[in-house]
């Protein structure tokens, strides 16, 4: 087990190193840097001014030096300075994280609390009209772009209340908090709820076919006990995987939803930074996302061993 964990940790470092190289190179093959953008807006370009600014930002140095500079900083906890605001990148990123984390947490909560029960119902009622309706619903959840769902919600809000929710970092009332956090979280979580439901359904169906379920029924266990106590308990493992991996991949939905609802979270900040070619922000944010994904994968694998005593990692 220990050897397995050590090996996994080593591979995580290799993966993160690979990502850092790819992101760094990709951002620098982009034609035009921040200096070009700033000067294009100004109209007139004095080459000496441009060279000065490039030197100040370290853009005149060889790419390898720039990379080493970044990594050395990362290891010291120094993420560099944002090109746009000229503030430390860390101060720009940190305050935005709680907003996005809250949205992501609520979205996951929504997807588990909707997706798992509906998946169980769908599996238990396999082949009925209810099952069909739920399957179509879950497929539609995977087909609706979350930004469109967000726009539809805004439209409904205008039609019902005559107004749109405007983001306020410190909501004063409960209703305001719900409007600001829960509604966008539902727009993000709808997709993962659909995914959770599909996985729960197919995993439940797999388990319900097995002998021990027949045994449970034969000894006279109630339907509810069979479905929840015997079946769901054994079917939950793949569901945990999906929720765990979705936790990291929610960022895609968060990017567009934060844009629609005008929420100043870290996901929308990534898009803004990409538009502005704000390298320090983009590369650090992408590294952060990669760390979250890699850790989520690792945690899911470890949870497997906890939830299923038959699984023991040996290597």
């Amino acid at each position: 087990m220990l050897a397995y964990i050590v090996r996994r940790l080593f591979l995580m470092v290799v993966t993160l190193f690979g990502i850092s190289v790819i992101i760094f190179v990709l951002l620098r093959i982009v034609p035009g840097n921040i200096v070009d953008i700033l000067f294009a807006a100004a109209g007139y370009v004095d080459p000496a001014d441009k060279a000065n600014l490039e030197r100040e930002l370290g853009l005149d140095q060889p790419i390898v030096v720039q990379y080493l500079h970044w990594i050395a900083g990362l290891l010291r906890g120094d993420l560099g300075y944002s090109y746009v605001s000229e503030k430390p990148a860390l101060d720009e990123i940190l305050p935005r994280i709680p907003i996005t984390a809250r949205l992501a947490g609520l979205a996951l909560l929504f997807s588990a609390s909707i997706g798992i029960p509906l998946g169980v119902i769908s599996a238990v009622k396999q082949g009925t009209r209810l099952d069909y309706a739920l399957r179509v619903l879950s497929l539609s959840g995977l087909s609706l772009p979350s930004f469109w769902l967000g726009l539809l919600i805004l439209m409904a809000s205008v039609a019902l209340f005559g107004t749109m929710p405007i983001f306020n970092p410190e909501p004063k009332t409960w209703t305001e908090a719900i409007a600001i956090y829960c509604v966008p979280a539902m727009a993000v979580g709808f997709r993962s709820a659909a995914l959770t439901m599909r996985i729960t359904r197919s995993s439940m169906l797999e388990i319900l076919r097995q002998d021990f379920i027949r045994t449970a029924r034969a000894k006279g266990a109630s339907e509810a006990s069979v479905n929840f106590h015997h079946a769901l308990k054994n079917a939950i493992l793949p569901v945990i995987t999906v929720i765990g991996i979705e936790a990291a991949f929610l960022i895609g939905g968060l990017i567009v939803t934060e844009t629609v609802f005008n929420i100043p979270g870290v996901a929308r900040f990534l898009v803004e930074a990409i538009r502005w070619r704000d390298y320090p922000i983009v590369q650090n944010l992408v590294m952060m996302i990669a760390v979250v994904v890699v850790l989520a994968n690792f945690t899911v694998d470890m949870l497997y061993a906890v939830f299923d005593p038959r699984i023991r990692y040996t290597d």
Binding site: I22, V136, W148, L151, I251, G252, T259, L270
Partner: protein, 297 residues
């Protein structure tokens, strides 16, 4: 292996139809949802193919005198802020979605299959290197990687196709590799080796065709997510540039501000994206049930 076997599928269902159209009609009836999905897909392809014949108006022609018109008999879906006909832009937008969907899925599959086949069949250091590369690519969500790629390559149709194709590669490579590893141990491969067939020929003639079924299932599933990703990229303003009528782009122009004043600019493009993706998802599900019965839900 998961080869296409309609006969066993039909016998299992107790059907007598064994030929041509009757067999097809039977499968269509058995997989109602898949048939509906196929219908949406054909509608989508039809719109893309005959866009010029279907629409009366040019999707790009600006007419400020007729800006933001409500849907009526002349403009079925109204007009946008430049006076362009929304119906015509949506029909022409099918071309972009289809081009990106098919283009990036095909490109991703091509590279994914090559890598997966090489990785699974050759093993050793080739496998090790490819495994690490797929690990790296899989550590970033599809949209994030596609965003960085389009930012690096610049916004244009071919670049968007490449940007969306690259994140698809690892998934395809993983599936093909796993299949190749399983196939490699089977007796017919051993037989091929024993009669002195070359490694390349075994890989291409014996292993590759046997990985087709899972590949088709995976590619159909990916088709929907590529269309969604293009829409998201364009919505964020980093996908297909103006004035091309991309569905996602149409929503970014009309976002929040038109929610109040011109809801038709929000409803119709989103509906187009959803129906196209919904159709491919429904069809993909049915196809998976038929081609890969082990995963049947």
């Amino acid at each position: 292996m998961a080869a296409i076997n309609y006969d066993s599928e039909l016998k299992r269902a107790g059907a007598n139809a064994t030929h041509g159209w009757r067999r097809l009609a039977f499968l269509a009836q058995r997989h109602m949802l898949g048939t509906i999905g196929l219908f949406f897909m054909l509608l989508f392809v039809w719109a893309a193919a005959f866009a010029d014949l279907i629409c009366r108006y040019d999707p790009l022609s600006v007419d400020s005198a007729h800006a933001l018109l409500h849907p009526d008999a002349r403009h079925w879906m109204g007009t946008d802020s430049f006076g362009r006909d929304v119906w015509s832009r949506i029909i022409h937008g099918a071309r972009i979605s289809l081009a990106v969907g098919i283009g990036s899925t095909a490109l991703g599959s091509l590279f994914g299959v090559s890598i997966g086949l090489a990785s699974g069949y050759l093993s050793g250091w080739v496998d090790l290197v490819f495994q690490r590369v797929t690990d790296i690519l899989q550590a970033l969500p599809l949209l994030v990687l596609a965003l960085i790629m389009t930012a690096a390559l610049g916004p244009s149709l071919p670049n968007v196709i490449i940007a969306i194709a690259i994140p698809l590669i690892p998934t395809v490579a993983r599936v093909i590799r796993a299949n190749t590893l399983a196939l490699r141990e089977l007796p017919f491969i051993e037989a091929a080796k024993s009669i002195g067939m070359s490694e390349t020929r075994i890989a291409l003639r014996h292993i590759l065709p046997n990985t087709l079924a899972p590949l088709i299932v995976l590619a159909t599933a990916q088709l929907g997510s590529t269309i969604l990703t293009e829409a998201s990229l364009s919505f964020l303003g980093l996908g297909i540039p103006e004035p091309f009528p991309s569905w996602g782009r149409m929503l970014s122009e009309s976002a929040a501000e038109y929610v109040r004043t011109a809801p038709w600019l929000v409803i119709f493009p989103g509906l187009a994206i959803s129906l196209a993706v919904f159709g491919t998802n429904l069809f993909g599900d049915a196809l998976r049930d038929i081609l890969d019965p082990r995963q049947r839900g």
